[in-house]
């Protein structure tokens, strides 16, 4: 059973239908206690980092404890950003802190017409061996829509370049993150979700 954490930010429909299409059994827990015996945890997200403040202390603790027990954890978009220490988008809102570093605003470039938000399909440049990206090749295109991003740290397994280069996918032990939306990235995205589900077994 996969727990899809619904903290009221945005729309889980796309993630739900992608998981269903992959044959996953999943639920949206109504209490943090329900995270004690799940096979994997997904923290989705769209929109503003401040929305993660709805993940209150009991939820934070339960998600953190589950990850420390070795249960695979996958943060998507703002959910990935939340795995870091915090974000310049909402300086008062702490992240989970499982990944070192801080989320910063993307740079634009007016002369090259590189706009913010960074919306659309862009390439993953693999920077390390990644279980999350098995079956894909460097250069694979995935769908992004965001204005803030994580720095390239040792946890980064795929980087993407807009005006600046940022971490598009991260992983460390059993903790994974994708700045892009695998649930909206066609076959490449479904493969990434499938890779995560396989690690949950």
């Amino acid at each position: 059973m996969i727990a899809l954490v619904d903290y009221g930010a945005g729309n889980l429909t796309s993630v739900r239908k992608a998981l269903a299409a992959l044959g996953a059994t999943f639920m949206t827990p109504s209490s943090p206690r329900e995270l004690s015996d799940v096979a994997g945890v997904i923290v989705p997200g769209v929109g503003h980092f401040a929305a993660t403040s709805a993940i209150d202390e009991p939820w934070r603790e339960a998600i953190g404890a589950s990850a420390r027990r070795g249960t695979p954890l996958f943060g998507i978009c703002v959910g990935m950003q939340w795995l870091f220490e915090g974000s310049d988008e909402a300086p008062g809102v702490p992240g989970l802190g499982l990944m070192p570093g801080r989320i910063a605003r993307l740079e634009g470039d007016a002369t090259r017409r590189l706009k913010i938000p960074h919306v659309g399909w862009n390439a993953l440049d693999f920077t390390g061996a990644a279980r999350l990206l098995r079956g894909l090749e460097t250069g694979a295109q995935v769908y992004f829509t965001h204005s803030y991003a994580a720095p390239v740290t040792p946890e980064c397994v795929a980087a993407t370049t807009h005006a600046n280069t940022f971490a598009a996918a991260v992983e460390r032990d059993n903790v994974f993150g994708a700045q892009f939306h695998p649930e909206k990235s066609g076959d490449a995205g479904l493969r990434i979700l499938q890779n995560f589900l396989e690690m949950c077994r």
């Binding site: 729309n11 429909t13 706009k115 913010i116 919306v119 659309g120």
Partner: protein, 251 residues
Amino acid sequence: MLTKRIIACLDVRDGQVVKGVQFQQLRHAGDPGELARRYNVEGIDEVVILDITATLERRQALARTIGAVAREIFLPLTVGGGIRSEEDAAAAVDAGADKVSLNTAALRSPELVTTLAKRYGSQAVIVAIDAKRRDTGFAVYVRSGTTDAARDAVVWAHEAEARGAGEILLTSMDRDGTKAGFDCEMTAAVSDAVDIPVIASGGAGSFDHFTDVFTTGRADAALAASIFHYAESSVTDLKRHLRTHGIPVRL
């Protein structure tokens, strides 16, 4: 590098895809789920459903259409047409839309753009602008192109961005369905006026029209309907063409 997006538009009435010429003369173009499946295989980057159903049951009919398309594709899905309130937008999102596109309602109640941007994020809110050339500037029309809104497209696009829109979908009414090419001049004027992505629409008839709108039109994405619906051209062939002309695409 961020690629230029090719977006397929499904104009849907009573659950079936239709397509008109200059907003008139609708003809039947197929089942939305089937078309979406084909486009997905061909490598379309996004799908837009524009609902033009006029009946009282439209919201339920639209939810069924969104569901049918969302089952077939794992790509960004936008829904527009008749979204007049926060409730309409919520119904579309709950049915599986990632973004909603506001047209008449955005002009009539611009605060709706802000409300939806706060609730779902700017990335989920597209402001659609239907415009015609004037001697000077570009005139915005609403109510499916029947009513002059007495606004200039460039000015309105700029305001829409300030109110929280995440993208602009700009349709040339002069070119819609004519296959005479996108209105590159209008697209460039709007694209220069905003920092958010601009999707060009109306007039796609050949692969070179797409090349033009991504270069001289400075569009971030291009939307088309009939060029794809009747299998006149495949999305794959279009993208190969664009790539050979130096335009970055997802292939």
